[in-house]
Structures are given as C-alpha cells and as structure tokens.
Symmetry: C2
Subunit: 328 residues, 2 copies
Amino acid sequence: MQEFVQRMRAGDQRSLARLITVIERGKSDSYSALEAIHPYVGNAYVIGITGPPGAGKSTLVDRLTSQYRAKGLNVGILAVDPTSPFTGGAFLGDRVRMQKHYLDPGVFIRSMATRGSSGGLPRATKGSIRVLDAAGIDIILVETVGVGQTELEIMNAADSVVVVLVPEAGDAIQTLKAGLLEIADVFVVNKSDREGASRLIAELEISLKLGESIPWWLPPIISTQANKGLGIELLENTIQEHRKALEESSRLPEKRQNRNRAEFFKAIEEGIGNLIGNIFDNKGTTATMLERVEDGSLDPYTAAYSLLNDGSVFKEWAAFIEETKQES
Amino acid sequence: MQEFVQRMRAGDQRSLARLITVIERGKSDSYSALEAIHPYVGNAYVIGITGPPGAGKSTLVDRLTSQYRAKGLNVGILAVDPTSPFTGGAFLGDRVRMQKHYLDPGVFIRSMATRGSSGGLPRATKGSIRVLDAAGIDIILVETVGVGQTELEIMNAADSVVVVLVPEAGDAIQTLKAGLLEIADVFVVNKSDREGASRLIAELEISLKLGESIPWWLPPIISTQANKGLGIELLENTIQEHRKALEESSRLPEKRQNRNRAEFFKAIEEGIGNLIGNIFDNKGTTATMLERVEDGSLDPYTAAYSLLNDGSVFKEWAAFIEETKQES
C-alpha cells in the first residue's frame, strides 16, 4: 500500500486511480489505504456542486476547471451519480465535453456510481476525497447528480457548496424543500439568459432573508451562462471569498473537525453493521432473541430497542471479540 | 398508541395515516407504534414495482389496483421517491390518474419522500408496510421511482418484485448493470406497441439465461400497454403464480425470516448510530480517541477499525448504559 501511496505522491495517476478503486470496494484493504494516506491529508479545498438534473452542473465544472488550471492549480473531479447507470448517456456527453481536461495531467477525473459496497456512495466519495487530497491536488470538485438524501450527505464533505439552479417555474421553492437552501454557500442561476431568471433570483433572495436572523455569511447569488463561459470568473472569486471568510473566522478547522467526527461515528456504525451477523450467530441471549425475531414472535424494532437500552448486547460483544482474539 | 391501532384496525384511515407519519418521523414513539401493531402483522402480500423513470410504473400500479379491487381485495399503495421533491410534477400527474382510487375506501395511497429522519426512506417504507399489513390490507404495492441504492434496498421488503421496462435502446443491458436483474421475479415490457419491444424481450431472455444454471423460478416476461389496460390480467396472474410458487416451496416464510433478521440488524446498527454521540462525549479511552480524530492526528477510519477490533469500546458502552440506568 505504501508503495502505491509513494508513487501517487510522485504524480502517478494510475496509482491514484488504483487507490480510489480500493476505497470504492470498501474491503479491509481500504482501511490500510486510508491509514497510509493520512499523513498527507488536509491541504486540498473541496467544492461541492449540486442541483437538479439539467441545471448545467457538468459544464460549470468544466469551466471552473479551466479557470483553476489557468491559475496553475491542479484539479480533481469526482462526478457522483447515485441513480447511474440509467443516466449513462449523460455521462458520455460529459466525457466529450471534458475531453480537453482528460489530456491534461493536472486534472484527475473520476465518475462514481458504486452500489452494494459497504456504506455506499457517501463513504466511497469521502474516502476518495481523502485520496485526492493526499495526492497533492489543490482543488477537488465534487459534482452530484440529483437531489436525494445521498447527495445531501455527500455535500457534507465539501468546504464550499455551490447550488446550481436554472430558471424554471417553482425551482426556488422546490430547492427550499429539498434541503438545498440550508447547505448552499453560493447560489448559481445558470442559463441566466432564459426567461424567468430575474424572478428566480428574486425568489431566492426572499427565501434567504426568511432564514436565520443574522447569518455570518449570506450566500451570494451568481448569474452564469456556463456554456458561453459567462460569470465563471465571478463564481470562482465568490468561492474564494467564502474560503477566506471560513479561514479568517476559524470556521474551516471547526467544519473539518466536525467532519472527522461524523466520519468516525459513521465508520463505527458501519463497522458494527458488518460485525453483527458474526456476533449473533455465536451464542448468548442475543442469539435467542434473534430466533424470536426471525420466526416473527418478536418485532425486530422493539427487540433492537430493548437490546440497546439494556446494554447486555455490548457485554456479549466485548466477550465475543475477546474470545476471537484468543483463538487467532 | 393502542387507541390509534384499534381505530386503524376498525377501518379508520386517519389513524392509519397518523401511524405512518409516526413511523416516518422515526422518533422514539415509532418504536411503541411498531410494538403495538406487531400482533397484527404477517398477512399482507407485498408487491414491489420498480424500473427506470418514465417506464409507466404509476399507470401500471393504477391498473393493478383496479384488478385487485375487482376481486374484493383491499390495496395499500406506497409511492416512494428518493429524489423528490424535484419530481413533484410527476407525482401530481399520478395523483390525477389515481383519483378514482382516492375516493375508494378500499384503497390507501401514500407518497413517501422523507429525508433527514434516521434510517431514511428504506426504514420508513419498511415500517409503513408493517402498518398497512396490521391495518388488514391484503395487497401492498410499493412503487419506487428511480433505480439507485435506496430503491434496491426498499425492494428487499417485497414478496414479489416486478421490474418495469420500456423499449428503448440499451435498456436491457442497463438493467443488468443496475442490479435489477438479480431482484426481478417478473419482468414487464410496458408500452409494448413501441418499436424495439421484441428486441428488448429477446435481450431480456438472453440475460436471464446467462444467469444461474437451474433457477427455481425463471422470471416471466410480460408485455403490457398499461395505458390501454392490456396485459394487466396476465401480469396479475403471473404475480399470483409467483406467490403460489413461493408458498409451496416454503420460500415465503424463509424470505420473511431473512427480512426480519435484516430489519433487526439494521435497527441495531442505526440505534447504535444514535447512541454514539452520547457515549463518546462521556469519558474513557473512546473520548481520548475522538479528540485525536477531531484534531486530525488520527484517521477516522483507522480509529474506528481499531476500536471495534479491540472490543474495549463495547465494554465501555456496557458500563455507560449501566450507569445511565442507575441514574434514572
């Protein structure tokens, strides 16, 4: 693992891709990978780009990438699509658009649509961000397609969140409902030459004012026409301002601390999820309870609730793990 | 809670709706609700309907509902949309289509698009299925919009899974990739008057033959034109055949046993997720570890892995819960 990490640190993109694959699979070697890269993590800035399908997020990511490259920064792009592969067509289109970046060694692009792996897309994405960070990448752009729970969870991993909308009836209110208002640091009204753009901006402004009384940061609303490259520089400057505001108010370390905490707790929760089967198959009062749940005489939720409140399950688990250690 | 359950058992749809809301919120009273309904659970038959957007699932659900109603069976419909509210428009259309069923006291319809609640949509949907079951509903139709991880997890709760496709280039292969082939008990090729229907059927047949060597049940492929009501009776008969095959081979009780087990384990995992914060804030080696994770000196994944492998975390948790019990 150390070998891959050293080669990745020396700029080898194949080692980088390989490490992300290890993380995506989520097997036990993903822990060694995350441990091995840890000393190099903490320098990248993570920008999340989200919004409804068809808002032009990929074009925006493409243009932002050019902007950062012109400044000499290298860029990592994670395109996350929880509903894939049924949107495979869209990604093919993206790939054509992104072609010039594919040839640029300062840009690393990866589409993520894992399913089945433990923890799923949010875990795989958060781990991959760490890998890109450790590879020495300056700016990580995480693009999520869609607006479900998974996307909101992924956006937790970003330092700045850009919510992209297009002028279409009701969009602003829909955004509120989808929980995007709460996570947005910057709003983009893309395709701003379309009818309804000014109404959308007005609606967003009202929604923002209905929020917290005195927010420390009021999300700016940027108009763009990503396909023509209009508004991209302003967007980049605004993200930069948000970054500066985070850093100067010491909110950035706090944000990252909370993120570490959340990832830790989630990893424990999932780890226990993986252990559960072994432990219950083994013995003890928990095994008896499982039988009663399986045959339907006990409600699974009530059973889980009483087990956890009683605390005896933890004692049994401690004993089980102790025993396993002695055997091996 | 008992009062609501009794009123629901007597046919009061408002009490039924209220109980589902309690389950959706996932607060501590959801446990009392699930415990209270448990004696009445186990008689409904659950049919999952899934497939890509635009396949005509809602129309199919509408027609199947009429079919079951004509047989005197009452029907519960759960329409689950993880990407809502951005697809709000589609649901409005569904509501118009389903209007005649809304006036029928033998049909209960609920749209589900929870976010934020612990465990999210899969937990809320599985709990709601239990509520509908306890209300004495015969047939529960669970329709999921989209083809992501969440949808696949929800389909685990169904006794029979119907995968709906429409003739469009590449659909059969996409389905394979999305994991729908593995979960389908019946395939529906809807809008079968469209060009490409026979090719889609041929592709599906090949895909199915490439699967297991001697499957106990080979998923039939049914052609429908749901908007004209064509093929619906055949579909209903085929689902009935699958149900009979499950029952006669004792696979149905086994399936439900596994489901109880999975819900139990998931409930424990999530319960621990809710407890984690309290326990770590308290004391012990775990608290020291948390500090090191938060300040970034320890990788969260490595930390979680070592905690769980060591087993000491379980001992600390048992002690913490013991202490909390004595205090209260």
